[in-house]
């Protein structure tokens, strides 16, 4: 008994208490505030699990811990996030963007935050870490994990936390930024929606063609975009309904459980509690804010030349964070005018943001890998 107490005292670190508080906060946000519970809850519990003195959940000396083994098996080689992309691809309906392909331009504009943050982060971190931090602006967890891992960033843990936390905070981040840079008159702009049928052939060819185009331009992104589009092809082909359903539910859920708790294995007190973590969290917020600004300002610039004006709020949905960003913009439109239905436009921009963010990740890899 005395030996156990001595061991505990010898190996206890006051920073564990801070990490427990961070873990508890994530669990609280997941359960009480319903913020990305599928990820924040496993992550929160995992943080507590790995921040116990001599925790057997992670490798200690020669003794291998299960979370470290899972990390090597699924995160270090980018396997988990890529498999998750199959599920995400199966969930996405590209219908709105196929009906109005021009909406994709907003998805491109809303990647501005990534490149703006790249510049900001490069002043504080070396180039590969700066690029990994910038990709928080992709507002897409799997892309952030893959890029950070491929660039061998030293800050994978904080980058994951920032990416997923800000994705969960999209409903809180988007409205004030939009209100700051748009006028009431702009927010009241109504956009006509003409529903048109998209042929099944187009829906099937779209994921294949996107994979080829993105793969040719940014070969390093081909696994990212390829897995996403493979999931979508399963959904749209019409002969693999059971696989599509499994990818959307069982596969995505299974990977998500392991993803959250495995990422936590990188969040030990000695790695996580540093000023660089705070700086990364700050830069992540900058990336999100400038994504929104990029999308909204692009719409405002287009409005100078267009006869039929665009509601600039839809530009904010290009931040990715599918499908939350699209829904938030739609709700904001309804708040301004209960008859202003922006859903189809904002969802179109939102799925384009998903494609553009993956391409941005590929470009970052092409530049710096």
């Amino acid at each position: 008994m005395e030996e156990i107490i001595n061991n505990l005292i010898q190996n206890f670190d006051w920073r564990y208490i801070i990490m427990w508080a961070i873990g508890a906060l994530l669990i609280f946000l997941a359960i009480k505030k319903d913020m990305e519970p599928t990820l924040l809850l496993p992550m929160g519990f995992g943080i507590i699990l790995v921040n116990l003195p001599l925790s057997g959940a992670i490798t200690q000396g020669l003794e291998e811990g299960p979370l470290s083994v899972l990390y090597e098996a699924g995160i270090a080689n980018e396997l988990f996030p890529l498999i998750l992309f199959i599920g995400i691809g199966a969930m996405i309906d590209f219908g709105p963007v196929l009906t109005n392909p021009k909406l994709m331009l907003f998805g491109a504009a809303a990647q501005f935050g990534i490149f703006f943050t790249l510049g900001m982060a490069s002043m504080f971190f070396d180039i590969k870490d700066a690029a990994s931090i910038a990709i928080i602006g992709a507002a897409d967890g799997p892309t952030a994990i893959v890029v950070a891992q491929m660039l061998k960033s030293n800050y994978t843990g904080p980058i994951m936390v920032a990416a997923y936390s800000y994705m969960a905070l999209v409903p809180i981040i988007i409205p004030p930024v939009i209100k700051l840079i748009t006028t009431k008159k702009e927010r009241l702009i109504k956009m006509e929606y003409k529903p048109t049928n998209v042929s099944k052939l187009t829906r099937i060819l779209f994921p294949i063609i996107i994979t080829i185009v993105a793969g040719l331009v940014a070969p390093k992104s081909v696994s990212l975009i390829g897995f996403l589009m493979f999931g979508n092809l399963i959904r749209e082909c019409g002969v693999l309904d059971s696989l599509s359903e499994t990818a959307q539910r069982v596969l995505a859920n299974l990977i998500t459980i392991f993803l959250g708790i495995t990422i936590a294995s990188q969040m030990t007190a000695d790695k996580f509690l540093s000023l660089s973590t705070l700086l990364i969290l700050g830069l992540g917020l900058v990336a999100f804010i400038f994504d929104i600004i990029g999308g909204v300002l692009f719409a405002k610039i287009l409005n100078i030349f267009l006869k039929k004006k665009i509601n600039p709020m839809i530009g904010a949905a290009g931040i990715s964070a599918f499908p939350m960003a699209g829904r938030v913009v739609h709700k904001l439109g309804l708040q301004e005018d209960s008859q202003n239905f922006l859903l189809m436009h904002s969802m179109g921009v939102n799925v384009s943001g998903q494609i553009a963010s993956v391409i941005a990740g590929g470009l970052i890899l092409n530049f710096f890998l």
Binding site: A109, Q111, F115, G119, F124, I127, I209, S274
Partner: protein
Amino acid sequence: MLNILTTAFSMIGDIKFNPKALLDMLPYIGEGMLCIFIVIGIIILITILLNKITSKDK
């Protein structure tokens, strides 16, 4: 001012402050945004084309 900031940041743990790095990044920022718009532009054109070609199959 920049010198003061550089010194201040270099004193805080592993963080360094190198404002010149921002200038080195400007070409990547421009090239990155341009590339995204080009790729998305190509995808838009292909999608429009696809819609036209396959419109008979609706």
